[in-house]
């Protein structure tokens, strides 16, 4: 079936996800942990099988037919992803995921640009992967990591980002959508503010690319990162977008094969971008799977996806809000993908165990965002996160499971 006929949440679309056929604890799987990792549609799985059955070979190396085909698939995927993001092909670096993308920028751009006394600006909504690489860099350089505060609703304090950009700020790194709370940040405005002050920006788009269209030109970001495994693509795929001039000026990060132009024991010279940043044999099947996943999403259409997911989010917020003793953690005006909540008298870890036994997979814990939890005064939350295949039955199953947990705990 062509993806053009698929409606978000429809039985036909759900049938494209083989894993939804299985049961969990003898109940149908209700997968609401999409922000942790997405499930894979048949098209993406088939693409991986095609790779290993039809054209598997190392890329950029052999003169033989298979290597030529593998290279065409890999570089073709780069072109298709660049087109999706509004970038040039040379601006797309394949990585293992967003974490590796951020570490690459921190250690290549960061080490070259950040000196003692300089500042790196992040927000209180960041995932650990957009905190720790900057912490390591700042400690090494004697630079300062500054944090834009959030409100009790889980939104950035208005005006704080602008006021915290100083002449010493070398880079501002911030998430588009909070993985813990679902808050959508005004990243376009933030990029514009930073650019006006000459500050380089990095946007973490891990919880964005699967939910709405992302265009680096209209966004105005200098760097943008995301992980393939969260956007219906294979594990081990990821992207670093960087403005070409920035990438060209940056020193290489990891050394090895493919990233060099020539090597002698006296000196090596570097391949041009993006290959300068891709040392070693890449996970080309994963990269091809990522291009396939983005095209699969485009065929469904992001307008339909966003409208469907917003309907599910609103219904979930409404269902939870109407239950006694249930509190939403983070109440952003603009939300995407995620609802975080707490139930009085039930620890999130216990709640997630009860939900699991009813077939409902959610995340319980700090969501790799401990500073968010600390700021909102909770040790952990329960998080339901949505994707294109979820439907109202899933929302109802979640609500029913929460009611069952309350009954079990005598609440």
């Amino acid at each position: 079936m062509s993806a053009t006929q698929l409606l978000p949440g429809s039985p036909e679309l759900r049938a494209e996800f083989p894993i939804l056929q299985r049961s969990v604890h003898k109940r149908p799987l209700v997968y609401l942990d999409n922000a942790a990792t997405s499930q894979k549609p048949r098209a993406v799985i088939a693409k991986l099988v095609e790779c290993y059955e039809q054209w598997n070979s190392n890329v950029h190396r052999g003169v033989h037919r298979l290597s030529e085909e593998a290279t065409e698939h890999y570089e073709g995927a780069r072109q298709r992803i660049a087109r999706h993001l509004g970038a040039n092909t040379a601006e797309i670096v394949f990585t293992r995921g967003a974490t590796e993308s951020i570490n690459l920028v921190a250690q290549s751009f960061g080490r070259a640009q950040v000196q003692a006394g300089d500042e790196v600006l992040v927000t209180a909504l960041e995932h650990h992967s957009n905190i720790v690489p900057w912490q390591i860099l700042c400690r090494e350089r004697g630079a300062k990591l500054k944090v834009v505060p959030i409100t009790d609703a889980g939104e950035l304090v208005e005006g704080a980002f602008a006021s915290m950009l100083t002449p010493r700020t070398r880079l501002a790194a911030f998430t588009w959508v909070s993985n813990a709370l679902g808050t959508v940040n005004p990243v376009g405005d933030m990029c514009a503010l930073a650019r006006a002050r000459g500050v380089t920006t990095l946007v973490d788009a891990c919880q964005a690319v699967q939910h709405f269209p992302v265009n680096v030109q209209t966004l105005g970001a200098d760097f943008l990162v995301f992980s393939g495994h969260k956007v219906y693509a294979p594990n081990g795929s990821g992207v670093l977008y960087g403005r070409r001039a920035l990438l060209e000026a940056m020193p290489p990060w990891q050394g090895g094969g493919d990233m060099i132009a020539s090597v002698t024991f006296e000196e090596s010279t570097w391949n041009h971008v993006p290959h300068k940043f891709e040392a070693g044999t890449p996970d080309y099947p994963a990269a091809v799977g990522l291009a396939c996943a983005l095209e699969w999403l485009n065929a469904i259409g992001f307008d339909a996806i966003a409208a469907h997911e917003q309907t599910l989010l609103a219904a979930t917020v409404e269902a939870l809000r109407s239950m006694a003793g249930v509190k939403l953690v983070g109440q952003p005006a603009q939300r995407s993908g995620v609802v975080s909540f707490a139930v009085d008298g039930i620890h999130p870890h216990d709640l997630a165990t009860v939900l699991d036994r009813m077939g409902v997979a959610v995340r319980a814990g700090h969501h790799c965002a401990q500073p968010v939890m600390d700021r909102l005064g909770v040790p952990a939350t329960t998080r339901a996160s949505f994707s294109v295949f979820n439907n109202m039955d899933d929302v109802n199953a979640l609500a029913q499971a929460v009611r069952e947990a309350k009954r079990l705990f005598g609440l």
């Binding site: 008298g345 620890h347 216990d350 165990t353 036994r357 814990g365 700090h366 939890m373």
Partner: protein
């Protein structure tokens, strides 16, 4: 839902709601902190010693029902015991919680943790207080984690 009822028995829920020996001991002879990074459970165990035996024990922190009830029941169970006896009780609790043993014979209230055996992901919740107690007995300065 039987396994859930076995896990969240009234004994566990009651101790989780109203834990015994909850708070700090000031002064104390030994203490240790424990942490489960997976779920964010944090616990501290405080001890006063009478020779080699635990004479008083308290704990505080924030954890799930399994962790809090385990700490509460543990503090009731180990008063007056020396290290070797405490280790033996923990081994029995651990064997029950992991399903290695189904006989909670002489464990008394601690036998309730047999319900954890159907939930392998939750064994660490039940054992964190015990590991923290052992660290306190060893006066281990570094925080314990379950990882």
């Amino acid at each position: 839902m039987n396994e859930l009822d076995d896990l969240y028995q009234e004994m566990i829920l009651g101790h989780a709601r109203s834990p015994r020996n909850f708070g700090t001991l000031k002064p104390c002879d030994r203490s240790a902190n424990g942490h489960n990074p997976l779920c964010g459970d944090r616990i501290a165990v405080y001890l006063r010693m009478n020779g080699r035996a635990v004479s008083e024990i308290a704990f505080d922190g924030a954890g799930c029902a399994i962790c809090t009830a385990s700490a509460s029941l543990m503090t009731d169970a180990v008063k007056g015991l020396e290290r070797e006896a405490i280790d033996r009780v923990f081994e029995s609790v651990h064997n029950l919680a992991t399903g290695k043993s189904t006989d909670g014979g002489d464990l008394g209230k601690l036998a309730v943790f047999s319900g954890v055996s159907a939930f392998p992901m939750r064994v660490k919740c039940a054992t964190l207080p015990w590991h923290t107690l052992q660290a306190a007995l060893d006066s281990n300065a570094t925080p314990v984690t379950t990882e």
